[in-house]
């Protein structure tokens, strides 16, 4: 009797150690095929620097060049954090969505999606070494790809002519960079040679820059000197060359349906009252900011 009781007690104390793993299956339902970049947990990170200048940019871009009406312009809000040693450029909407999801997932599985226009890249600029590290999140996947390249490679031609943006008098400069012709407005009153995305090398902060087709327009909408930490998240990054990344991204867009199938995620569209899988033949229009790399 005593032995049986001991066994029972032992087993009882052992039971909590047999952990049950519950698998969460996510399904995504849209009214038309689209790419969505999933949230990521941002609770763990390392601090690279502290910003002394934070510039907010409105990004207006064209993803689908075949559209002719005003809906072809998509929008995002980007943030450029400038520190002494590092700068970081990323989507503020993406950050807010990650932040909300990180908190919500502690108690619910109902989370908002950020929207397809929100950019999935983050650009870290090591100012001393003049090196750029670009991280890219891909649709319907938790993977993050990373490549490095030299910064400050934009060859500017200073132009005459001035403009006023947010009350700052700006000079103009032009450059041909990775397949697009750009016009930049920069202000000498803000003595930083940095700018949005990979643009840098002017004698003042770039407040506005657009390509000649207005398919990519970055325009400053906010300036703050509130110190903020510049962080890099403790994710698993897959290192890749830039060439390989550009080819991979193009492949994803041109084989969008097959790509989604390969991720294993359950993605359907709502069509006349029925749920249908996104067709394998679906292609998404590809209009990257870098046409030549």
């Amino acid at each position: 009797m005593m032995k049986k009781l001991l066994l029972l007690i032992t087993l009882t104390f052992c039971l909590p150690h047999f952990k049950c793993r519950a698998q969460i299956i996510r399904s995504y339902l849209f009214d038309s095929p689209d790419f969505i970049i999933l949230h990521k947990n941002i609770s763990k990170f390392s601090t690279l620097d502290t910003s002394f200048l934070n510039i907010t940019y409105q990004l207006s871009f064209v993803e689908d060049t075949t559209l002719t009406d005003k809906d072809k312009f998509l929008n995002d809000i980007m943030l450029l954090q400038i520190g002494r040693n590092y700068s970081k450029f990323f989507s503020l909407k993406r950050y807010h969505n990650d932040s909300i999801c990180t908190k919500l997932l502690e108690r619910t599985f109902q989370i908002p999606l950020a929207g397809s226009a929100v950019q999935g890249y983050e650009i870290y600029h090591n100012i001393k070494n003049n090196k750029l590290t670009v991280t890219n999140r891909i649709p319907f996947s938790s993977k993050v790809y990373e490549y490095e390249e030299d910064g400050g490679t934009v060859k500017w031609i200073l132009q005459k002519g001035k403009d006023t943006i947010l009350g700052y008098i700006c000079n103009k400069a032009t450059a041909y960079f990775h397949g697009r012709h750009y016009t930049a407005c920069y202000t000498m009153d803000i003595p930083s040679h940095l700018g949005p995305w990979k643009f840098s090398g002017l004698p003042g902060l770039i407040l506005k820059i657009n390509d000649d087709k207005n398919e990519y327009v970055f325009e400053c909408s906010g300036i703050s000197q509130q110190p903020e930490p510049i962080v890099r998240y403790d994710w698993k990054y897959e290192k890749i060359s830039k060439k390989r990344w550009m080819e991979f991204e193009k492949h994803i867009y041109e084989n969008a349906g097959r790509y989604i199938e390969s991720t294993g995620e359950r993605v359907s569209i709502y069509n006349n009252g029925k749920h249908e899988k996104i067709p394998l033949t679906w292609k998404k229009n590809y209009n990257p900011i870098e046409k030549v790399y």
């Binding site: 700052y168 803000i190 090398g201 906010g222 703050s224």
Partner: protein, 893 residues
């Protein structure tokens, strides 16, 4: 960056050249001191920088007009700049950085060495706070970002739209943008509600809407979109947030309280996607919410059409105070998008409305120079209606063709009972009014294959029947109709039915450069039948005057040539409608037929000029002629209510010739959130009859005298609206003034009346602190009457003030206060009247708990005073007693 590299080879010994080359340093913009470069003949400036913080050094022409070279430097050292601008006498050398004091030096354009030493000083920039732009513009679409106008106390998108500069929402559901009526309303670019925007803006949550878009020159027909020869007005489109799309959403509201028993409930469900939309709800309340206006069924219940109960029109105050109702409604609105160009919509609405209205009315009628008629009445009216409306619409809207067909049915089953106490006499009124209307509208248009011109056809057809039975007890006016003994009741029944078909088709379209010439044809057919009968104690009166049986045909055959001239910013249209109108009237009681055939010329001219994207000036002139409808083509009498009798007597075709002109100037500056418009309208009538009234006891008899008569109306409307980033504030003002002139007969004497009026309204909204939202509206109306050139009575001025405050005590708790103040020195007892309500809500997760008090001050009565120059009216309305409501709103899914 400039890098100039020039070598001049001189004829000197090679060893010297070699030694010189060893020690020559290349100074180049964007090179560190360690790199060598060759520069000869250029201005070489060696700048030795002493700094502990990153700096930017630039060399430019004077006043920094042209940047010549620059360098970002993060450590002390010597840096060389090379300039090749020999024509410049002087250069500007600047050093800037975030943590140093900026330095600027004017130097001569000669090679030299300069030291720059930085001193610590933090650079403070002019902060630009990150704010979403409240209003943005893309071509002719103005985008209002809802989140920038929304406060914590706003719930529906209508609450937020009221604060958007340039947009004004009236209580009848109409939306105006910069003084122009918005005729088309979309949700995600789809038209599900066919202009009935109240269903959307009253029910869609502000949190679900990203932007309210105003499309200024909206052309709903895609095949006409690139044409410059069309007049297009503004349209509104709601852009929803992604979270509000692609899934069904439903919420429920339930409120209950007293006194007496009060309730308000609603279950609302919505769905929005690219291919399907739905807004459906079931609502019920007895707390004064007018569901009829929301469903587009008109405002509340009317007392019949041609004949009805005598009751006062509603007062001009919020319905929650005076509308004693028991209303239930349900609506289902559904849109299916079949493909890119085709869609089908279904709208079904039902309304069951019971209303009680209690008023005291004093009316003073001018009978003659030495006689007036005073009537003191107290009225209790009970109205009940069941309305059923259904609409199905098919739309095919592509770039090549356009087809739209909509079929609507409206069935009304109404009744009412009114008790009037007049000078100790009690008059009982009973009304039965069941009607139906079936309406079909077809419009089709197609581009010609060669791309020039188009063909179009439209047909609007309706069939309707409006029978009314009005019973009055006791049987008043029996002597007028040949009865010798008094009667207990008299009954007026009126039957109006008809068929109408307006058809239009294009015959010719020609275009040469900026000139287009079109020719349209129109055929309008209109048949109406009017029958009426009067019985006393169920016995038909022998008087031939007591009956009507009129068949009335009014047909038009019109040719409409029109010219359009257009340039980039200028448009001119000239329509020259000419036609033949045939009016045939057959009188089945007096056995008389009359046919009138007339030639009708109705020109219309419109011109529009836009200067840049801020100013638009437009002008129009229109001339036309209107003829009687069947209600004024009667030869017998009929009662419109118990003390109003229409007696048009010997019939003659009533004709109204009108001239209408308008000049409008509109200005908008979206960047500054400033909108204003000014309109001047003139309307002149030339009639062949003058209205007349006579009195028989308390009975007013309306008649006509056939003679030439002119009347006119001139008015101006000035509107201005401005939004500010400061404290999320906005202000708008509207000023209207005008004058009306007409002529009228009273008891056989002719009077010329002039009516001057002015209306001023100022509205403002501000959030003085982030947790408070204030809205103030103040308007004053004043008018004066003149009869035969002399002022009649005193000027009447009414002032109304409305004050609303929303206070968010925390993220969970809000309080909304609503105070109305009215002033009119003609009021009997108290010149000032106040109406006050409040609502408190408390949020927990996705539930909101409400506590509402209507009419906190328990105001009993509201007065209105009107004076027409000849007649004076004072109406006193019962107000809902103080009512408490406890409620909850929550999301079902």
């Amino acid at each position: 960056m400039h890098l100039l590299f020039k070598i001049h080879i001189r004829d000197i010994p090679q060893i010297v050249i070699f030694l010189l080359a060893l020690f020559f340093r290349t100074l180049c913009f964007a090179q560190s001191p360690e790199k060598n470069s060759r520069a000869t003949g250029n201005t070489v400036i060696k700048v030795t920088v002493f700094t502990s913080s990153p700096v930017t050094v630039t060399i430019s022409s004077k006043d920094e007009r042209e940047i010549l070279c620059y360098k970002s430097i993060d450590s002390s050292g010597q840096y060389v700049f090379e300039i090749n601008r020999p024509k410049l006498d002087s250069l500007e050398l600047t050093m800037r950085g975030f943590n140093i004091k900026g330095q600027k030096k004017i130097i001569r354009n000669t090679s030299q060495s300069i030291n720059l030493r930085s001193s610590e000083q933090k650079l403070y920039l002019r902060q630009v706070v990150v704010k979403a732009k409240k209003i943005t513009v893309k071509k002719d679409t103005i985008n209002y970002a809802v989140s920038t106008f929304k406060n914590k106390t706003d719930y529906t998108v209508k609450d937020v739209m009221k604060k958007m500069p340039g947009i004004k929402i009236y209580s009848n559901g109409q939306i105006y943008y910069n003084g122009e009526l918005v005729k088309n309303f979309y949700i995600e670019n789809l038209d599900m509600l066919h202009g009935n925007s109240d269903i959307a803006i009253n029910n869609i949550k502000a949190d679900d809407v990203a932007d309210v878009q105003v499309m200024e020159h909206h052309e709903p027909i895609k095949m006409f979109r690139k044409r410059k020869d069309r007049i297009n007005g503004p349209a509104i489109n709601l852009k929803l947030r992604n979270s509000a799309k692609g899934a069904w959403g439903a919420n429920m509201l339930a409120e209950a309280g007293g006194t007496p028993t009060a309730w308000n409930g609603a279950v609302t469900a919505m769905y929005f996607s690219k291919k399907m939309q739905d807004i459906s709800f079931v609502k019920t309340n007895n707390t004064g919410t007018d569901l009829a206006t929301e469903l587009g069924m008109g405002s509340a219940v009317s007392s019949g059409g041609t004949a009805g109960l005598r009751m006062q029109s509603p007062p001009d105050i919020e319905k929650k105070y005076y509308l004693m109702n028991n209303t239930n409604s349900a609506t289902a609105n559904h849109l299916f998008k079949l493909n890119k160009s085709k869609q089908i919509t279904f709208n079904l609405s039902y309304l069951n409305d019971y209303q009680k209205r209690t008023t005291s009315d004093y009316s003073r009628y001018f009978v003659s120079q030495d006689s007036i008629l005073e009537i003191d009445e107290s009225q209790k009216v009970y109205l009940n209606t069941n309305n059923l409306a259904a609409n199905i619409e098919y739309l095919d809207n592509s770039r090549k063709h356009y087809i739209k067909n909509s079929t609507k049915c409206l069935f009304k089953f109404s009744g009412g009972h009114g008790i009037i106490t007049q000078n100790d006499n009690t008059i009982d009124q009973h009304l039965d009014n069941n009607s139906y209307e079936i309406y079909n509208s077809l419009y089709a248009s197609k581009n010609h294959s060669k791309g020039k011109g188009y063909s179009s056809f439209s047909s609007n057809t309706s069939l309707y029947s409006k029978p009314v039975d009005l019973t009055i007890e006791p049987g008043l006016y029996y002597k007028l109709f040949g009865f010798e003994e008094s009667c207990k009741q008299f009954k007026q029944n009126v039957r109006i039915s008809g068929f109408k078909s307006d058809n239009s088709f294009s015959l010719l379209t020609l275009g040469v450069n900026h000139l287009k010439i079109n020719l349209n044809g129109k055929i309008n057919l209109n048949y109406q039948r009017f029958t009426s009968d009067l019985t006393f104690d169920k016995i038909r009166s022998n008087s031939i005057q007591s009956r009507n049986k009129i068949d009335y045909w009014k047909n038009e055959f019109i040719i409409q040539p029109y010219l359009i001239y257009f340039r980039q910013d200028f448009l001119m249209m000239l329509y020259l409608s000419s036609g033949y109108e045939d009016i045939y009237r057959r009188d089945g009681i007096k056995k008389g037929n009359r046919r009138v055939s007339l030639f009708n010329f109705q020109p219309y001219a419109y011109t529009e000029l836009t200067t840049g994207d801020k100013i638009k000036i437009s002008a129009l002139y229109q001339h036309g002629t209107k003829y009687d409808d069947v209600e004024t083509a009667t030869s017998g009498v009929f009662f419109s209510n118990y003390r109003s009798l229409y007696n048009y007597g010997d019939y003659s075709t009533g004709k109204k010739r009108y001239d209408k002109s308008n000049l409008t100037v509109q200005y908008k500056d979206v960047f500054r959130m400033l909108f204003w418009s000014a309109k001047l309208n003139y309307l002149h009538y030339n009639n062949n009859f003058t209205g007349s009234s006579d009195y028989y006891g308390t009975l007013t008899i309306y008649d006509r005298k056939y003679e030439d008569n002119t009347s006119s109306n001139i008015n101006s409307d000035i509107y201005i609206s401005k939004g500010f980033q400061f404290r999320n504030s906005s202000i708008s003002a509207e000023y209207q003034f005008g004058q009306q002139k007409n002529r009228y007969y009273v008891s056989g004497n002719r009077y010329c009346r002039k009516y001057d009026y002015a209306f001023l309204e100022i509205c403002g909204s501000i959030s003085p602190v982030p947790w408070m939202d204030l809205n103030i509206k103040s308007n004053t109306t004043s008018y004066s009457n003149y009869v035969n050139g002399k002022r009649s009575g005193k000027k009447i001025t009414t002032v109304r003030n409305e004050f609303k405050a929303g206070i968010a005590f925390s993220d969970k708790t809000d309080l909304n206060l609503d105070l109305n103040h009215f002033y009119n020195k003609k009021y009997d007892d108290n010149k000032n009247k106040f109406l006050l309500s409040c609502k408190m809500d408390y949020k927990i997760k996705n539930k909101i708990f409400y506590f509402t008090i209507l009419n906190i001050l328990n105001t009993k009565k509201y007065e209105e005073v009107l004076y027409s120059g000849l007649n004076y009216y004072r109406h006193t309305y019962d107000i809902r007693s103080r009512t408490f409501l406890l409620g909850i709103r929550f999301t079902l899914f």
